[in-house]
């Protein structure tokens, strides 16, 4: 069983939702980023999403865009991200690691080479924000050949007619974007999220992680009661920028505690 399936099976056995922590690779630099990654599992992250910095992150809000630019200015590249991933994997055999980014850096690296190197680095899944199902065949095949999951996004605008297509080739889990908007904006109402999660679970047969706009432990707990996992990104990235790794890890502890207690 791969690490993602194993992690969600464990969560199911423990009868609780998981906590997914998003951090930007290379923010503020490669060394600090490696140290933060290393500490996330102990702080309570069940799954880690590692942001791949891109100059033009159209679906991200101010916090994550600024983090991406800091990382790029400090010299982070996709090759550097894979190196961070490999470093993390050498120390942590179980915690799944998912890369989240935009198509152009993967395209520039070459989809096949990227998929092979990601697998070698111990990456378990990839989320590519601007490759909708209509456009992701090339990356999907490359990842599949290397045993890396392609995790797709479902959104409030993904209606019943479209949902089967969106979840058809998704592996690992489905990432439900709980609001129309960029990362860090307001989250959707818990009741609506619950209905959406049920709909996606039924269509996909996969666990559903919910993110975009989750900031506080209370919100995280509310989402955790409806979803298989809760994703927090912008708030952690902002804490890391404002207060350093200590502040980010403290927030991760609080959020994961709230998710576990929900």
């Amino acid at each position: 069983m791969n690490r993602l399936s194993a992690a969600f099976a464990r969560l199911k056995a423990e009868d609780r939702a998981g906590f997914v922590a998003y951090v930007m690779a290379g923010d503020p630099d490669a060394g600090a980023s490696a140290a933060l990654l290393d500490a996330l599992p102990t702080a309570g992250a069940d799954v880690i999403e590692l942001g791949v910095p891109f100059t033009d992150p159209m679906a991200d809000g101010a916090a994550i865009q600024a983090a991406a630019l800091r990382a790029l200015n400090a010299g982070m590249t996709l090759k550097g991200v894979l190196k961070l991933a490999a470093g993390f994997r050498a120390q942590h055999a179980e915690t799944p690691l998912v890369l989240m980014g935009y198509a152009n850096p993967f395209h520039a690296y070459g989809f096949s080479a990227f998929a092979a190197d990601a697998a070698r680095a111990g990456v378990d899944g990839v989320i590519c924000v601007d490759l909708p199902p209509e456009e992701d065949a090339e990356l999907r095949q490359a990842l599949a050949e290397n045993g890396v999951a392609l995790i797709r996004l479902a959104t409030p605008t993904t209606d019943d007619a479209r949902l089967p297509r969106v979840v058809a080739d998704t592996t690992g889990f489905v990432y439900y974007v709980s609001t129309t908007g960029v990362t860090g904006a307001a989250t959707g109402a818990a009741a609506e999220v619950g209905a959406a999660v049920a709909r996606i679970r039924a269509a996909s047969g996969l666990p559903v992680a919910v993110g975009f706009g989750v900031r506080s432990p209370e919100q995280a707990a509310a989402i955790a009661r409806a979803a298989d996992a809760v994703v927090v990104g912008s708030a952690i990235v902002a804490a890391n920028h404002d207060g350093g790794a200590d502040a980010a890890l403290k927030l991760v502890s609080e959020l994961s505690g709230a998710v576990r207690g929900a």
Partner: protein, 404 residues
């Protein structure tokens, strides 16, 4: 015109591809909207009522058809081929941009949108969008890079007069690409009621084809006017290229006329070799940005490199996917002109023709000069004068060391 198989004018395909370029590279949130837009546009473009609306407003509000003008003194000065200008700078709001805005805002009304958003670089597309939105009573928000706001103040004021809200974009370098990112973010957030009027032949399908279709009024008129005035087609049709909407509008009706060379002029900034330019085809390589696969200015890691041009309207690190296709297939030629050449032509055209060109078509004029010599006196060149230079006088004065 009967279409031959493999005709250049048949693109895009059902997936919105021009060969291997184009497509719909957007976040899932936007996909349903993009598909809905495609369906609405497909229905509108063959609806006689929609087309009549477009033609009526094009005539009465924009002032179409724009004249075809023989640039006699530039022809003399360059000493070669006869040079004709398609005068799209005489359109209402002073550029070709409004052709497309009219089409898209009419479509927005048809789709029941209650809010219009747009990105703008030089401000011409923002002004044109604000103008048409005002005419139809739709609230309009324009995203504009903070750097561009600084160098295009008169256009910012125009948009405000027209009732639009101009939102400065400080992310990235504060230019056109950043304004486009911000407009896409707005659209992602307000998918239900908002229509995004993209200003060039880029973005996710159907935008590249739709914007081209609305701008093709330029080439259709010019083709008929050339036949009427000169009794034959031009040897070359020339236009400047940022995203490429005026060029695509000029080129498209000539795609099947194999005798007509199609020449796009990119902005070479300080020189394509210097790294400070906006020439995506001459100095970039294929990648994925803003909803389409096309040539981009990017580094080895796939990070987007900022474009540079004296002309805010050409200052974009990508190019419409149909141009990428025409480039690879060899049907169109893509050359470039530097900031310095554009400044020289800006002044020359003003003095010799009594037409102050925008800095954008001033780039095209620099290559028209070479082409005129190459073709000789029997040659015939059609150039799209896609915008007037009033907006640029402050920036040009500064470059020439004059204080206004």
């Amino acid at each position: 015109m009967t279409q031959r198989p493999n005709a250049f004018s048949q693109w895009p395909d059902a997936r919105g591809r021009f060969g291997e370029y184009g497509g719909r590279f957007v976040a899932e949130t936007l996909m349903p909207n993009v598909l809905r837009l495609e369906a609405a546009y497909e229905a509108a473009k063959t609806d006689p009522a929609f087309l009549k609306d477009f033609d009526d407003f094009a005539r009465d509000f924009i002032g179409r058809p724009s004249p075809l003008y023989f640039a006699e003194r530039l022809t003399e000065a360059f000493g070669g081929a006869r040079i004709w200008f398609k005068r799209d700078e005489l359109n209402h709001t002073g550029a070709h941009k409004i052709n497309n805005c009219l089409g898209q805002v009419l479509l927005a009304r048809r789709m029941g949108a209650s809010r219009i958003i747009a990105e703008t670089g030089a401000g011409q597309h923002g002004v044109a969008t604000a103008t048409v939105a005002a005419r139809f009573g739709l609230p309009c928000v324009v995203y504009m890079g903070a750097t561009d706001i600084e160098r295009q103040k008169p256009n910012v004021f125009r948009m405000k007069l027209l009732g639009a809200e101009v939102i400065p974009v400080t992310s990235g370098t504060g230019t056109l690409k950043d304004a486009m990112n911000e407009a896409l973010r707005d659209w992602v957030t307000n998918v239900k009621d908002t229509f995004y009027v993209i200003g060039t032949v880029a973005g996710p399908h159907p935008y590249p084809a739709m914007v081209r279709d609305f701008q093709s009024v330029i080439g259709r008129e010019a083709r008929a006017q050339m036949l009427e005035r000169e009794g034959r087609l031009p040897d070359a049709a020339v236009a400047c290229i940022g995203g490429g909407s005026n060029a695509m509008g000029l080129f498209h009706p000539f795609l099947e006329d194999e005798s007509v060379r199609l020449i796009g002029v990119e902005a070479a900034g300080e020189g394509v070799d210097t790294g400070r330019h906006a020439a995506s085809l001459n100095g970039g390589r294929p990648g994925i940005l803003h909803g389409n696969r096309t040539y981009l200015l990017q580094d080895d890691d796939g990070q987007i490199i900022d474009a540079h041009s004296i002309s805010a309207g050409l200052d974009y690190p990508g190019i419409g996917p149909e141009h990428a296709f025409l480039h690879d297939s060899g049907r169109a030629e893509y050359v470039s002109a530097t900031d310095a050449e554009a400044l020289e032509m800006f002044q020359l055209c003003s003095k010799l023709e009594g037409i102050i060109p925008a800095l954008e078509p001033a780039h095209a004029l620099a290559r028209v000069r070479d082409l005129a010599a190459e073709l000789g006196p029997d040659g015939l060149i059609l150039m799209n004068m896609c915008g007037r230079g009033d907006k640029d006088v402050f920036a040009v004065a500064e470059h020439l060391g004059e204080r206004l």
